[in-house]
Symmetry: C2
Subunit: 209 residues, 2 copies
């Protein structure tokens, strides 16, 4: 295979490369693929900015890549759909308890993306109660590569998403300093001591294999 | 292929999976692989924290995944080496002009990692002069998948690295709002208007194919 000297992989190309590799891993699982015709129609309604005649992508608030096949963000809306399509998502994990918006449901359906909802109430300190079991169930979905690529999101991508990712980092054996550094990068001035205490105490041993 | 229900991929496993996919892309290029024996010996001297008898990884300051095969951080030191090994890096891009530290050079050599240095002086506003050509050369290295996985770093992973990543995002058609959002997440209170203006004006058209 000839590799050109400067090979920029567009998100679409990366999606294809990823899908090819991934389909091999998952070929006996039988996950439904997106219907290409509906993907195209969603692109039209997905919405993206146009600057100098060029379509631009608008990633959701606080969007970032966590690891291979794992992304995080705040709540996506229709302006973010065309960007999200470039990720070739297989699933979305929503950490909010409210019913998932109709527009978002349609986007997921049209693109063959499975929704996992692990509702945790947004809370204000000092009335804190992060349900450990819920975080653990979300982590199990993230650790199952059949769900990749997966997007984890809550409302602002700071606290609930931050706790899930922080617990994932513990499982990846990151030291707490680095876990907190990453958490604080997204939470910024809204960083919560209670969240950090939760991550510190979270026991990942049952999730190891 | 049977996929277990909860399959956690350790960084090493991900590295192997990545290498397998990548070796196919690069098999005609003939990039030298790291000598496994030297990798092991570097693990011993690489340094990592031990908590409750468990070795923990310490990613470099401001470490994050930018995209498939692309990472960013502040200047790594020996405490970060064992973590960096899990990334299976093929190259490192250093944006600082100072001679690369001997310890870091030894780590790169022992792990078959190529160093690209694009020295840009750290600067303080308002004495600003970001050399556009240097950023462009760094981007060419990043866009060449034969260099992946690649780590981009400067001193603190905020300004010089932030500008390189911001220009990469423009090439990926991110709108400026999202480019700046990401830049500011790392630069935090040290965010510089001049950097953002540089990213806004940077012309990516010559880098497209």
């Amino acid at each position: 295979m000839k590799v050109p000297e400067f090979q920029y992989q567009s998100p679409q190309q990366q999606k294809r490369a990823y899908s090819k590799e991934h389909s091999e891993m998952c070929r006996k699982i039988g996950v439904d693929a997106a219907d290409p015709s509906s993907v195209v129609s969603t692109t039209v309604t997905g919405g993206c900015d146009k600057v100098d005649g060029e379509d631009l992508f608008l990633p959701p608030l606080n969007f970032a890549m966590v690891d291979n096949g794992v992304f995080r963000s705040g709540f996506p809306d229709s302006a973010n759909f065309s960007f999200l399509q470039t990720l070739g998502l297989r699933s979305v994990i929503c950490m909010c308890p409210e019913p998932y918006p109709e527009t978002n449901m349609e986007f997921l359906k049209a693109n063959g993306i499975k929704l996992y909802q692990f509702g945790i109430e947004g809370y204000k300190e000092p009335f804190v109660n992060i349900p450990e079991d819920t975080i653990r169930e979300a982590l199990k979905v993230i650790l199952d590569v059949r769900n990749h690529p997966v997007l984890i999101h809550c409302k602002r991508g700071k606290h609930r998403t931050g706790c899930v990712v922080g617990c994932l980092r513990k499982l990846q054996k990151w030291c707490l300093t680095s876990v907190f550094d990453e958490y604080q990068r997204f939470a910024a001035s809204k960083a919560r001591v209670a969240d950090q205490r939760f991550m510190e105490l979270f026991d990942v041993s049952s999730l190891k294999h």
